[in-house]
């Protein structure tokens, strides 16, 4: 339901599904007609003998039938092509001031950047795209490594993320909800585990979410969390990850400032809980073979505190 092109939850997907229905009806009619004629021809008994020289006399009559059928085919495909052009034109029309979001593809996760409205700081997150319901969202997309493709079937068709280029697509959600998406262009060993979720929220909820995301990371409160932060800052984590408000400012991996607020980790591979975080950090390659994230040589106690700290970063 929440990953199906047949259950549109946005203007674009709805128009595409509508066009699809037209094509489906026409296709079914064509199929039934052609196969119906074929069956009638095959089933009919006849006593015309089997001499090719007499049978070939009916060529002219047969050709008229063929001509009529080709004419109908031409009309049908022309009509379908026109309905396609009309739909595409209406899909390309602007529907108001869009929210600009930049998406960068990585093997195998999605980096999501919200450009700053009114000079406020930039929001960075990963594998989750929060959008306000009813407002068009313009995605500017590129890739850091290989070609990926952004696809959330309930909302819009797909668009590739190509290194060295910027591609655009706009979408809008009509109803609040969580819509699943997945990378659609084969991008290596973990192409299957490169999911993204679009969280369409009411404008008020979206603004609230955005305000939280704009803040620096929450300071640790318990001893365990404090130790976790220490572990984070003193281990290899900081080479790749950033947490605003800490010493960590790596840019290779996902920004973890509000990692605790996300529903899953490793691009939809695991639900986001302290237990799964331990599992993931201890040995990422076991969860997602081929991932760029190395396993951390940490003691069990360090791992637990680190996971607790990260989970607290709501």
């Amino acid at each position: 339901m929440n990953h199906s092109a047949l259950h549109p939850a946005g203007l674009h997907a709805a128009q595409i599904a509508h066009l699809g229905l037209t094509f489906l009806i026409v296709s079914c009619a064509v199929y039934v007609m052609v196969i119906g004629v074929l069956l009638a021809v095959l089933i009919r008994r006849r006593r015309r003998g089997s001499d090719p020289n007499t049978l070939s006399r009916s060529e002219r009559r047969a050709l008229i039938g063929v001509g009529v059928a080709v004419g109908i085919t031409t009309v049908v495909v022309t009509a379908l092509a026109i309905s396609e052009f009309v739909t595409r034109r209406s899909l390309e029309q602007d529907t108001g001031e869009p929210l600009h979001v930049r998406i960068i593809g990585h093997q195998w996760w999605w980096e999501v950047q919200y450009s700053s409205d009114s000079g406020a700081g930039q929001v960075q997150t990963a594998n989750e795209l929060h959008i306000p319901v009813g407002r068009p969202v313009q995605l500017q997309m590129t890739s850091q490594d290989v070609i990926h493709s952004f696809w959330v079937p309930n909302l819009q068709g797909k668009r590739d993320l190509i290194p060295g280029r910027t591609t655009h697509i706009s979408l809008v959600a009509d109803q609040p909800g969580r819509y699943e998406g997945q990378c659609a262009e084969f991008c290596g060993f973990q192409h299957a585990k490169m999911r993204i979720v679009v969280d369409a929220q009411s404008p008020a909820d979206f603004d609230a979410w955005r305000q939280v995301q704009l803040q620096s990371a929450r300071e640790p409160v318990s001893d365990l969390e404090r130790r976790g932060k220490q572990v984070f800052e003193n281990s290899t984590c900081v080479m790749c990850h950033a947490i605003q408000g800490s010493l960590a400012s790596g840019t290779i991996g996902p920004d973890l400032t509000h990692v605790g607020s996300r529903s899953s980790i490793a691009a939809g591979t695991l639900p986001n809980t302290p237990q799964t975080l331990v599992l993931w950090i201890a040995n990422p390659s076991a969860v997602k073979p081929g991932t760029a994230m190395p396993s951390a040589a940490l003691s069990g106690e360090d791992l637990r505190s680190l996971a607790t700290y990260l989970a607290s970063l709501k």
Binding site: L6, T74, T87, S149, G157, G188, Q190, H191
Partner: protein, 636 residues
């Protein structure tokens, strides 16, 4: 001995292959080579089919651990590459290599040594590819090898290099076969077989051969760019170095879309031979059918961008490619209507296995053709692209459009090739298991694609709700596998115990049925003279050519448009040089995977092989001089 017997004995001496294993390696007869092609391609087909079964097992349930992602990536890349490059294209050409000379009344294919060379190159390329796969060096970036994923940065190691070099092997062999088929069909037809009397399968093979010649250079270029990017650090596809990853896609699909028609068009030709035979009348709309093949070939080169709609191209370009993609439904529709009209105005239909497979084609291919119209629409394609809907579509057009007619063709021409008919009862099992297995496997994939299941994923989460339909598809794949097994059993049993076929078991109309089954090494004792489109259905005595030498491999060359006799020429005898040249070429190709210097040093043995190949022998020169006849009157 009477003259015909003497003539036959002399022809036999002249045209037979040499005896022994050395003779086996020196073979140049088109039917010998074609049979090797057929057996080899069918073995590759079975191997790639087994890979598909392994993938279906992995996908039968969510979060399955039967295959890891590395193994799965290699399997789907192999499956696609083998099916396209080592099965579908070469088997369609093999049918052409076998049938085109017979159908036009020739004694052998043009350039017979080149034909032998093409087979060896094809075989060695295929063996190299499978050897690499068995050594865990199979391709991992898909049969389409999109850069940068297949480039030096993201596919280190030699896996992609073996893939790129496989392309070089198969394209080389496909190109030379195409040239042979074109020359045979245009210059070696029996006298009187003017352009409007050429059997439709020959037309289809000629059109296909021209498509190969125009399409293959694009992929040879793109794969060579890929090899040099990987081997000597050029930057054709590297955006950081001024290259462009989309350049690969344009070049690859400029080849890749015609490739589909290269597989499909010969199958159309097969249908155009089978249907009139069973309808007992000449095909309706011969001229329209030929034009449809040619138009399809032209349009095929204007469609490639519909594989790239998701890359975000300018709207005007998209409209052009949408129009071209949807337009191709018209020539395809024309052919389908002509065939139905042929059946409708023909005699009582006999439902033999070849015709069953052709009827299966109608039921299956039309679905694939209609979903193809969907995919030609940029709007719908944006949802359907790279999902299981496309997997369903492509198997409907390729299996329904090409492989079902191909199986029909196996049943139709098997008696000509072996002298024995395939069993009809096993044939019915073969057909029904194939038809049911196919639809059970691939129909559910339409729904999976619409439900968001993307292609080339090695696993999926249980939360997706895709498991039921995937399980159904896996069950279907095994039914399909059983059907292929039935076919293999049928071939083995019928080879020993099948009913003897006689010259023309189906009472068909074209020249290959005028000679013995299997045909003698020289194909026809006398080259026939053709006076109509369906020579064997013509009433009255059939005429033939006399005066061709039976002491040397003398063949008649005729004019392109009306097939008036023009001159005779002597065909080369069996030779070991094609094999040696192919071995030298293989050394060069495989070596260049590892070092660019192999291109330099490897060209020396290739040059030696080619010089040996063309070195004239004293014996043949002597005979030719003795047989040379001075024209009696200088003017003609």
């Amino acid at each position: 001995m009477s003259y015909p017997e003497e003539n036959e004995a002399a022809l036999h001496r002249t045209w037979s292959e040499r005896p022994g294993w050395l003779g086996w390696l020196m073979a140049v007869n088109h039917r010998t080579i074609a049979k090797r092609y057929l057996v080899t391609t069918l073995l590759f087909f079975v191997a790639a089919g087994i890979m598909a079964l392994l993938m279906r097992l992995q996908l039968a349930r969510p979060e399955n651990t039967f295959l890891d992602t590395d193994r799965y990536s290699q399997l789907f890349s192999m499956h696609g590459s083998v099916m396209m490059f080592l099965f579908a294209v070469p088997i369609m050409e093999a049918v052409g290599v076998y049938l085109v000379p017979l159908m036009v009344g020739a004694r052998n294919i043009a350039f017979p040594r080149l034909n032998a060379f093409s087979y060896w190159i094809f075989l060695f390329g295929g063996l190299m590819f499978f050897a690499a796969f068995l050594l865990n060096t199979g391709p991992e970036a898909g049969w389409f090898s999109y850069v940068p994923l297949a480039g030096p940065d993201y596919s280190p190691g030699k896996r992609t290099d073996f893939w790129a070099q496989l392309i070089t092997f198969t394209e080389l062999s496909a190109l030379v076969v195409s040239i042979e088929i074109i020359v045979t069909a245009l210059k070696m037809r029996a006298p009187g077989m003017s352009l409007d009397r050429i059997p439709l399968l020959v037309w289809a093979e000629v059109v296909t051969a021209f498509m190969v010649i125009f399409a293959m250079p694009a992929v040879m270029l793109s794969s060579t760019f890929l090899i040099t990017d990987r081997l000597v650090s050029t930057h054709f596809y590297n955006p950081a170095g001024g290259g462009d990853p989309l350049l690969w896609q344009h070049l690859f699909w400029f080849f890749g879309h015609p490739e589909v028609y290269i597989i499909f068009v010969p199958a159309l030709g097969m249908i155009s031979q089978i249907i009139p035979t069973f309808a007992r009348r000449p095909v309706v709309g011969y001229l329209g059918l030929v034009m449809a093949l040619v138009i399809t070939a032209f349009l095929a080169f204007g469609l490639w961008v519909h594989h790239m709609f998701a890359t975000g191209l300018p709207p005007l370009g998209m409209s052009f490619f949408t129009a071209a993609s949807i337009l191709i439904a018209i020539p395809t529709g024309l052919q389908i209507f002509c065939w139905i009209a042929t059946l409708a105005t023909g005699g009582q239909v006999r439902f033999a296995t070849p015709l069953l497979f052709v009827i299966g084609f109608f039921f299956t291919f039309i679905i694939g053709g209609l979903t193809g119209v969907w995919l030609g629409s940029t709007t719908l394609d944006s949802q359907l692209h790279d999902t299981y809907f496309v997997v369903a579509h492509l198997h409907y057009v390729l299996i329904g459009g090409a492989i079902m007619p191909l199986f029909g063709a196996f049943y139709f021409w098997f008696p000509k090739v072996t002298g024995r008919l395939l069993s009809e009862s096993l044939g019915k099992w073969n057909f029904w298991l194939f038809f049911i297995g196919f639809h059970v496997t691939f129909f559910p994939m339409h729904a999976l694609g619409l439900d968001g299941m993307t292609r080339r994923i090695y696993t999926y989460g249980a939360d997706r709700g895709w498991q039921e339909l995937n399980l159904v598809a896996t069950v279907g794949a095994f039914i399909l596998a059983i059907s292929v097994l039935v076919f293999i059993v049928n071939v083995i049993v019928s080879l020993r115990r099948g009913a003897l076929a006689g010259d023309n078991p189906w009472n068909a109309s074209t020249l290959e049925w005028a000679t013995r089954s299997p045909p003698p090494p020289y194909n026809f004792q006398f080259i026939p003279v053709v006076e109509s489109r369906d020579p064997l259905w013509q009433k009255g005595e059939r005429r033939h050519v006399v005066g061709l030498s039976n002491e040397v491999r003398s063949v008649l060359i005729t004019a392109i448009h009306d097939a008036q006799p023009d001159h005779t020429t002597t065909f080369p005898s069996p030779s070991l040089w094609p094999l040696l040249s192919a071995l030298a070429t293989t050394g060069l190709f495989v070596g260049s995977i590892f070092t660019p210097w192999a291109v330099l040093w490897g060209s020396i043995p290739v040059a030696v092989g080619l010089i040996g190949w063309f070195w004239p022998s004293h014996r043949e020169t002597e005979i030719n001089r003795r047989l040379e006849i001075k024209p009696e009157s200088p003017a003609r």
